[in-house]
């Protein structure tokens, strides 16, 4: 696991950035792919390697960065929700209600959807914790961060290898 220490560092950074609203809006969809790219760069610098990065390595570094980002992002989000008893579900619930009301769907579906989210909202307001919310955050983070981490790793390796090629030439 020592091999992936750079992924741990950039994954941690990405996990933090993902939950800070202002920073999140600034870097948008680039956070995780850039974290993967920087983990490859950090690893190159740490190992003083001048060799090309294999796609397999790039993929592994990307996936590890995504996994660390998902893990830290989830822990921070759940912890902050637990402490503050407030999160985006609470903040956007009135908007969600308005949105659901405007959809051309049957009243039964609308009621069911709103009931589910009302329950989650009440649990968070009362205990600062909701099993459904925690589960959805964890699954979301694991899937999305891992995929985007892998993409960032694969593209990042091409960029780094291209730079190495230019230096050699």
């Amino acid at each position: 696991m020592k091999k992936y220490i750079s992924s741990l560092v950039t994954g941690f950074g990405a996990g933090v950035l993902q939950i800070v609203p202002f920073l999140r809006s600034f870097s948008c969809c680039m956070i995780i792919p850039l974290a993967s790219f920087f983990s490859l760069l950090l690893n190159q610098m740490a190992t003083k390697s001048r060799e090309k990065i294999s796609s397999k390595n790039a993929l592994l570094f990307g996936v590890m960065t995504g996994l660390y980002a998902a893990l830290f992002g989830t822990i921070f989000e759940i912890f902050i929700t637990f402490i503050t008893k407030h999160n985006d579900i609470i903040a956007t619930f009135p908007e969600l209600q308005r949105m659901v009301e405007n959809f051309p769907v049957s009243p039964e579906i609308k009621t069911e959807v709103l009931n589910i989210f009302q329950n989650v909202r009440n649990e968070i307001l009362t205990y600062g914790f909701s099993v459904l919310y925690t589960f959805s955050v964890l699954i979301n983070n694991l899937i999305v961060d891992t995929i985007f981490g892998a993409i960032g790793g694969l593209i990042g390796a091409q960029v780094i290898n291209n730079r190495l090629n230019n230096r050699i030439n």
């Binding site: 985006d88 959809f103 999305v144 694969l154 091409q158």
Partner: protein, 152 residues
């Protein structure tokens, strides 16, 4: 890269891109309403989703901002092109940096109020970056498949 891999890649990007328009599909299957908050959360991981920057369409709005929608549209277009022609050569790294400069330029110019934020410009700069970025993703995946086959 074999056609089956290219087809899988195209399909994955197509599914991701289609998900952006989930609100539009709710009128065809109302059960999607259950998935909508979950999907919003998923896309929020890769997009700020500021309401003023979402693309409005008949019956709803996109789950990602105009720029991110452009990035995924660009990747989808490139993936479609690669479905029919796998022998496109990977261009130099400048090919990736030019759209990055356009995108950062747009972000800088509207941030310092040289001009107002425009969804069209954001979408186009995203589209350029997505379509160029796909070349490098494709090259990475191609190399990965070659490495795996060589090991076998």
């Amino acid at each position: 890269m074999a056609l089956k891999y290219r087809a899988i890649l195209f399909l994955v990007i197509l599914i991701w891109f289609t998900g952006i328009f989930t609100e539009w599909f709710i009128k065809y299957d109302e059960h999607l309403l259950f998935a909508l908050p979950f999907l919003k959360k998923s896309y929020s991981l890769v997009c700020h989703q500021q309401p003023a920057k979402l693309i409005l369409f008949d019956g709803g709005e996109t789950l990602t901002c105009a720029r991110c929608t452009g990035i995924y549209a660009g990747a989808l277009i490139s993936a479609f092109v690669f479905l029919f022609s796998s022998k496109l050569k990977l261009p130099g790294i400048k090919f990736l940096f030019i759209p990055v400069i356009f995108m950062l330029g747009d972000i800088f110019l509207y941030s310092v109020h040289i001009y107002s934020y425009s969804k069209n410009i954001a979408f186009i700069t995203g589209l350029l970056l997505g379509s160029a970025g796909f070349f490098y993703l494709y090259a990475g995946l191609k190399n990965l498949i070659i490495e795996i086959k060589n090991r076998e």
